[in-house]
């Protein structure tokens, strides 16, 4: 009950953010966006024909009315039809979102888990050679471009070694899933690991320095117990926050590169095609839904805080 009330209050708080995101995307993509009048007209149109098409497209309406229409589309999940394929945008999303999730989930989870593991290792040996090796490798990892990693991995595993497919997504059972998901997963883990390790190391090093860690040692706790109960459990808030806020980033930006490069029919590929062909209904839907996802994540994140830290009560959660 408390959680429900809290969620509703948070949802209300998310409204300005949603309005802002939709306003920006509306202004940039619709209001100042490409004028589609001429695409719908025959050659040498008359002034009347032009006016008719413009009113059909709603171009003659005032700014706020058009923005209102845009919001209504978003609220009813009615984004219209893709400019390039003519398919309903909702149908496209229904088909592609599961592919993207299946493609990215393993890499995302592995990137976080390995990052935490390496962060713990480095934090425990802080200042020693293990720490220096881990942080050094993290900086190297951070310095490699995602695109370069994708190209190199595809080349290595797909072309030179020939172990995995170069392109496509022909998944029908577990072996074929593993066959197609491995190289993209390796690439996304490689790219995420540098940043994740560095971030988690910094967080965990801070927790390692707490008084209660010293207390635990003074009472004979083992390293594993200390790392789990004193370090990790106390670092859950930054860990959860980072994980949660990486989700939209990975789902949109990560999938964009991986899917377009490996030719995998997910949201990222659809978005990429929409960017290159200027397919506005699709882009509007993706931007709008990402904003909704962000607000949702804000709320879930705050509820998770409560779960991980007994000192936080939902009534007065302050999100940084």
């Amino acid at each position: 009950m408390e959680i429900l009330k809290y969620t509703l209050r948070k949802l209300a708080g998310g409204i300005p953010l949603l309005l802002g995101v939709t306003l920006v995307s509306f202004v940039l993509m619709v209001y100042f966006g490409p004028d589609k009048t001429w695409e719908l007209l025959s050659k040498n149109p008359t002034a009347e024909e032009i006016a008719q098409v413009r009113s059909q497209l709603g171009y003659d309406q005032p700014f706020w009315v058009r923005y209102g229409n845009y919001l209504r589309e978003l609220a009813t999940l009615e984004f219209g039809y893709s400019d390039s394929t003519g398919e309903r945008v909702t149908t496209i999303l229904q088909r592609t979102v599961p592919v993207t999730l299946a493609l990215l989930a393993p890499g995302f989870v592995l990137g976080i888990v390995l990052g935490i593991a390496l962060g713990l290792l480095a934090a425990w040996h802080r200042g020693g050679w293990i720490d220096r090796a881990v942080t050094g490798l993290a900086v190297v990892g951070m310095s490699v471009s995602f695109l370069v990693v994708i190209i190199a991995f595809q080349l290595l595993f797909g072309v030179v070694l020939g172990w995995f497919p170069v392109r496509g997504w022909n998944v029908h059972d577990l072996p074929s899933y593993l066959h197609y998901v491995t190289v993209p997963t390796l690439a996304s883990v490689f790219v995420a690991l540098g940043y994740n390790t560095r971030f988690f190391r910094a967080v965990l090093v801070e927790e390692m320095a707490r008084d209660h860690v010293r207390t635990a040692r003074a009472f004979g706790a083992s390293p594993v117990e200390i790392l789990r109960k004193n370090v990790l459990m106390n670092a859950m808030i930054p860990i959860v926050t980072r994980t949660m806020f990486s989700i939209p980033l990975v789902v949109i930006s990560g999938s964009l590169l991986i899917e377009s490069y490996f030719g995998i029919p997910g949201v990222g590929k659809v978005t990429y095609d929409a960017i290159t062909s200027g397919d506005q209904p699709v882009l509007k839907a993706v931007i709008g839904l990402t904003a909704v996802m962000f607000v949702g994540i804000l709320i879930v994140n705050d509820i998770l805080y409560k779960f991980f830290d007994p000192r936080i009560s939902l009534g007065r959660t302050a999100l940084q």
């Binding site: 953010l17 100042f32 695109l147 370069v148 090093v205 960017i275 882009l283 993706v286 931007i287 962000f294």
Partner: protein, 305 residues
């Protein structure tokens, strides 16, 4: 009137120790000493300096000018004449990679300078007028920009500006200022309750004078570090945006070279890819090492080393 800069470190230490150490060593010179002693950071600075000289040379026309010239031999292997071989059009890959260094610095410097200025401005206003409408507006704007996926935002700006070659820069500046602003806001909130600000207020200085003459200069350490981080982010983003067709419109860049190479590597022509990604990696790595050392030097508590 010049007030002590950055020496005020609130907390127990500040109460127990004199603000000025005997001998008058300023925090900046202490940070400088730490930075000089940091070998990885110095190595990073050396790498960045080499690249900067390369970029300057291109500006002055000393080298890299022949990047667009097509020659007879296509896909030539590396030779004394063409150090890294040639492209399908017979262009010298080394010259193209060299010229792209200038492109990278142009993007990095423009984006880093503009987004740092913007971040300082918005962060300072929002921190000084914390919990007022100004602060609310800045935070709202930051929240909005943070929740739009970056590549889509660039695409949207590119649409709105109808293929303007600055669309990429504008989009980067518009998104990268938010982190700087958040950090500056926090620091300004901390600084504005300190004595020297109280003193400035007591002698009746205008709030904006206090803010921009006396408070903002004390956030310089944040701005410096952020500028280096944004520089790296900008040149890394350029590569991906150019691959997506949203990046550099004319000239040549590492991103365009890598984008070209995506179809070439399958056919076994690696030089374009190796050259561009190698240059990119070296510069980004150099900057990362330097940024790391800079951060540690300015805030020794940070990494606990």
């Amino acid at each position: 009137m010049s007030l002590p800069v950055h020496d005020i470190n609130p907390g127990a230490d500040a109460r127990l120790q004199p603000v000025r150490r005997p001998g008058g060593i300023s925090p900046w010179s202490r940070a400088f000493d730490r930075l000089i002693g940091d070998r990885p950071a110095m190595a990073g600075l050396a790498i960045v300096t080499v690249f900067f000289v390369i970029a300057l040379g291109v500006w002055f026309g000393w080298w890299g000018g022949k990047w667009a010239e097509t020659g007879d031999g296509q896909w030539l292997p590396p030779s004394p004449e063409h150090w890294l071989g040639t492209t399908i059009l017979g262009q010298d890959i080394f010259a193209r990679a060299i010229f792209s260094t200038r492109t990278a610095f142009e993007i990095g410097l423009v984006v880093a300078a503009a987004s740092t200025l913007l971040g300082a401005l918005f962060g300072a206003l929002s921190g000084y007028f914390a919990h007022t409408a100004i602060d609310g507006l800045v935070l709202w704007l930051k929240g909005v920009l943070d929740s739009i996926p970056f590549y889509l935002f660039v695409a949207a700006i590119a649409f709105a500006l109808d293929g303007n070659p600055w669309a990429m820069h504008i989009a980067m500046i518009a998104t990268f200022w938010t982190t700087t602003a958040r950090l500056v806001r926090g620091e300004v909130i901390k600084l504005k309750s300190l004595e020297f600000v109280e003193a400035a207020r007591a002698i009746g200085l205008h709030p904006l004078v206090i803010l921009f003459r006396h408070i903002v200069p004390n956030t310089l350490h944040i701005l410096l570090v952020q500028a280096t981080i944004v520089f790296v982010a900008a040149i890394k983003s350029e590569v991906i945006l150019s691959f997506l067709g949203l990046g550099v419109q004319d000239g040549v860049s590492w991103g365009l070279m890598i984008a070209e190479s995506t179809s070439e590597v399958i056919a076994g022509h690696y030089m374009n890819f190796i050259a561009a990604s190698g240059f990119l990696f070296a510069l980004v790595m150099g900057f990362n090492l330097f940024a790391d050392g800079l951060q540690d030097a300015l805030d020794p508590k940070r990494s606990g080393r």
